[in-house]
């Protein structure tokens, strides 16, 4: 790279692209731009550290391999743990990286590091991948919030997920995949009345903003705006109208039902959908735990891949599945596996990534990455590139301070990119 040109010189102005004016309608760049607008991301987060040895990178019949067998997948030579029979049949859609080697073994810091890409310390909190995508690709045409999170437990807006990008790009969590309270228009209010009074409220606010700090009014305006959009699309939360068959295919359990809501969100055009499954931190009774949990993950994730492909969305959606780390080969006295960032796996599918591909390998016992190891920064590089964003040419702008979107010193996992 020419040391004299800084990335800033090469910053390609997305705004120029997309806001250009009629002259650009016929340009091939515009078609490119249109393509970019439709890209979406599904981010499946298995919180606690799913065991790579009981899933993507089995080592059957070895010292640390555990009790399970491995099964062949739809890609010859590639095997998964016997607990994932459905995903085994879909391996040809997946790209599995078995050579992840990251630095943090603790949940509290690890989860953050992985979700924010662990860039070089710049003294600012980096945004989650979802917030970054929301910022760089925009909210899309759905009008819905750009970064949505479906999770068990409580919901709410998390401004802190956006780091220095600002609260606008935080995640909007739907607890248990359910719509927020009071989502539907009150029966005593007609649609016209609702619209009219809300318009009035906005007008009053604008008047107030003229004499005061704009910030507070803006914050208020944005939440009412979000409320508007969600109210208009209340249907995306409603899985009850879906055919029973769908609800069975995804599985009648939390994760299955949450993935179904996620599918609706993706179909509705939400830019970035994150789904979290908790409970993977199996320091005890690891084998029985994975025996009951992996098949449920297998079922829902597999159904999602099938449906995304059937609808055509898999072509334009980048699918990512990971935890904050893997689990130790060594089995502790509680028949558990502990945290292991040394050699673990992530899985991807969809837009911009190769399919039917395994990248990297671990040694026979699973104690080490044999091929080139990748840190999470490389994954971020890979994901941004898969979405058509060049981390070398694009930067975040933190109130004038240019910041890289992915770790400066790392490179994408080339073998994974389509």
């Amino acid at each position: 790279m020419n040391p004299l040109c800084t990335p800033r010189d090469h910053t390609f102005s997305r705004r120029a692209f997309l806001g250009g004016g009629l002259g650009l309608l016929t340009s091939p760049l515009f078609a490119e731009a249109m393509k970019q607008r439709d890209k979406q991301v599904l981010f499946v987060w298995l919180d606690g550290g799913m065991s790579q040895l009981e899933t993507w990178d089995p080592k059957p019949n070895t010292e640390f391999g555990g009790p399970f067998r491995s099964i062949p997948t739809s890609v010859p030579g590639v095997h998964f743990c016997e607990l994932m029979p459905k995903l085994a049949k879909q391996m040809h859609k997946l790209c599995v990286v078995r050579s992840m080697c990251t630095k943090d073994n603790a949940h509290s810091s690890g989860v953050d590091r992985i979700q924010r890409g662990d860039p070089k310390n710049r003294g600012v909190p980096y945004p989650h991948f979802g917030a970054g995508v929301a910022k760089l690709l925009g909210p899309g045409s759905s009008g819905l919030p750009p970064y949505v999170w479906i999770k068990p437990g409580s919901g709410g807006f998390r401004a802190e997920d956006a780091g220095f990008l600002g609260p606008k790009y935080g995640s909007l969590a739907f607890g248990d995949g359910k719509p927020p309270d009071n989502l539907l228009r009150h029966p005593d209010i007609s649609a016209e009345q609702d619209a009219a009074r809300n318009e009035l409220r906005q007008m009053l606010d604008q008047r107030f903003a003229k004499q005061r700090e704009k910030r507070v009014v803006e914050a208020n305006a944005s939440v009412f705006d979000m409320a508007n959009k969600l109210m208009a699309r209340a249907d995306i939360f409603d899985t009850s109208k879906l055919p029973e068959r769908d609800r069975d295919r995804y599985g009648r359990h939390d994760f299955g039902q949450h993935m179904l809501v996620a599918r609706q969100m993706l179909e509705a055009g939400v830019r970035f959908v994150k789904v979290t499954s908790y409970g993977w931190d199996t320091h005890g009774d690891n084998f029985n735990a994975h025996a009951t949990m992996v098949p449920k993950f297998d079922q829902a994730f597999s159904a999602m891949l099938e449906d995304l492909e059937a609808s055509g969305l898999l072509k334009t959606t980048l699918v990512i599945c990971l935890s904050e780390f893997g689990r130790t080969p060594r089995i502790n006295g509680h028949v558990g596996r502990d945290h292991w960032s040394e050699a673990w796996s992530i899985a991807m599918a969809g837009h911009g990534v190769k399919h039917g591909m395994v990248v990297g390998e671990t040694n026979e016992r699973g104690t080490e990455v044999k091929s080139k190891p990748f840190d999470i920064g490389s994954a971020f590089h890979t994901w941004y590139r898969a979405l058509g964003i060049d981390p070398m040419k694009t930067e975040f702008d933190n109130a004038g301070q240019p910041l890289p979107i992915a770790h400066d010193d790392m490179l994408p996992i080339k073998e994974a990119l389509a």
Partner: protein, 519 residues
């Protein structure tokens, strides 16, 4: 006559000079080098002091009366009136409840204790002593124990959160967050060491939560024997160390030597279910030392927190991160407040009144503070004219309204929509999707705005020119010409249904930023 007036003025001036001793000093420090800010106009001031010292808003008549009043010292008089009123204790109790318990739950005895403290103007150091070494057998004081007992309740299958309690004692009473010092020295704050955490931790992990019984009407805590120093080691260096009970940055408390059962004042007995009481109580030792004048951070912390409550920005921020590399925005001011408060024996009401008299507090366009859930509720029910009905109907009356519109239900609904999640400091209540949807679509909000005998809409519908009444009631100010016209145009659009039109306009004002913000 002139002579008398001069004497009167002189007397008043002297009285003023004694009462406002601190306020001018504060202003002198803050505006020594910068221009004094413009003062809030009457309407701004009126609403602000009501929200701050009453927790609600004035009625239209009260507002009209104040705005029309020509008395020169009406502002000082209003402040004194509000602070002397019974509502002040409730408002202060609300604010301190949220600050100290961070929405961990509601407790009657705790709330009652807080209100009583502010009603009788109990000094802050006495309050802290009662919280840190609760007298569970004393009916007046047992409510204070909730600070500790709530934090020791087991959540699901997790261990008793002794570290959490330790951390909160540091945060709430000394303005230091020692969370990251449990297992090693703090990695980003050089001042905070593992011994600072451990010296407190040894006190609190020695406590056991006991269930309520015949003798103790509430859950209470028992203390174990402490006969040796607490050993700890850094997970980073594995270096071992030990400490006796100790307040952060303070001296270790001497642990008396005892052998066998000597250490027990009352020996534990399995058969009688006696849990025992030790002679040496680290709990009491620490409870004395934290609020002592020698503990500089104690005064600084409370001064900073009170300043934050009424000005909207702490002199040190975050409020629980006092350390040398996070200096106060105005060191001299913090020192002044801390010193004066200490001299005045931690009289909070005095400090609050002094702050209220400053130009800093009374400036126009001050920090815009978002109303708390409690303030929003009270302002809302006063504004909609439903306060009396709800206060009388405090128990759900199924016959009256199917959805149980009672004060308790309103409190719950507003808290659910507007309060921060539990265990988070409620510093800047940001508007949320939850709150927007609550105002937009919830039953409670729509119910209050339906015309009902004596409420706002009912009242306004009877008037030909409701603009003034509407703005005074909701926003504690008079509408300007533009606003009057806008309302009249709105009402003219659908003259057949005046009630509905008024409801909508009132809703729009109540959902607007101006209502949410204490400006």
């Amino acid at each position: 006559m002139k002579h008398m007036i001069v004497c009167l003025l002189a007397l008043t001036a002297t009285a003023w000079a004694e009462e406002a001793a601190l306020a001018p000093k504060i202003d002198a420090l803050l505006f020594a080098k910068v221009a004094k800010p413009a003062q809030a106009d009457d309407a701004e001031f009126l609403r602000r002091v009501w929200l701050d010292f009453d927790g609600g808003i004035p009625s239209a008549e009260e507002a009209r009366a104040f705005l029309a009043d020509k008395t020169p010292d009406k502002r000082a008089k209003l402040i004194n009136k509000l602070i002397a009123a019974p509502r002040f204790a409730v408002r202060a109790a609300d604010a301190f409840n949220v600050m100290l318990m961070e929405r961990r739950g509601e407790n009657e005895a705790w709330k009652a204790w807080l209100v009583e403290c502010f009603k009788t103007n109990k000094p802050w150091d006495a309050m802290v002593r009662e919280m840190l070494a609760p007298e569970f057998l004393n009916e007046q004081q047992r409510g204070a124990g909730y600070f500790i007992t709530r934090r020791l309740e087991k959540v699901g299958q997790q261990d008793t959160d002794y570290p959490g309690l330790t951390r909160d004692v540091g945060r709430m009473f000394m303005g230091i967050d020692l969370q990251c010092c449990q297992c090693h020295r703090h990695l980003s704050v050089n001042d905070y060491k593992q011994i600072d955490f451990s010296g407190l931790y040894t006190v609190y992990q020695n406590l056991k939560l006991q269930p309520a019984d015949d003798k103790h009407k509430t859950p209470w805590i028992s203390e174990g024997l402490v006969t040796a120093k607490y050993e700890f080691a850094s997970v980073l260096t594995s270096k071992k160390a030990q400490t006796a009970p100790r307040i952060p940055f303070g001296e270790e408390v001497m642990i008396p030597v005892s052998t066998g059962d000597d250490g027990w004042l009352v020996k534990p007995d399995r058969k009688t279910k006696e849990v025992g009481q030790p002679k040496f109580s680290p709990l009491h030792e620490i409870a004395q030392r934290v609020p002592a004048p020698e503990n500089a951070l104690f005064a600084k912390n409370i001064a900073n927190r009170v300043w934050f409550l009424f000005i909207g920005k702490g002199i040190v921020e975050p409020l629980d991160l006092h350390h040398t590399e996070n200096p106060p925005a105005h060191p001299a001011l913090l020192d002044l407040l801390a010193k004066e408060l200490t001299t005045h024996r931690f009289d909070l009401r005095w400090l609050i009144r002094e702050i209220a008299q400053t130009q800093a507090y009374q400036q126009s366009g001050a920090h815009q503070r978002h109303l708390t859930a409690e303030q929003q509720l009270r302002a809302f029910i006063i504004a909609t004219g439903e306060r009396e009905r709800l206060e009388k109907n405090t128990k759900p009356d199924v016959k009256v309204d199917a959805l149980k519109y009672s004060l308790t239900e309103f409190e719950k609904a507003f808290a659910a929509a507007l309060a921060n999640p539990a265990k988070e400091p409620e510093l800047a209540a940001n508007p949320s999707l939850r709150s927007a949807l609550f105002f937009r679509n919830s039953d409670h909000v729509q119910w209050a705005l339906k015309p009902r005998a004596g409420n706002l809409i009912d009242h306004l519908a009877k008037q030909t020119d409701p603009a003034e009444e509407l703005y005074l009631t909701l926003l504690t100010r008079l509408p300007d010409a533009e606003e009057k016209t806008a309302l009249n145009n709105w009402l003219a659009k659908d003259s057949s249904n005046k009630s509905q039109a008024l409801t909508d306009y009132a809703w729009a004002l109540l959902s607007s930023t101006e209502f949410f913000v204490n400006h």
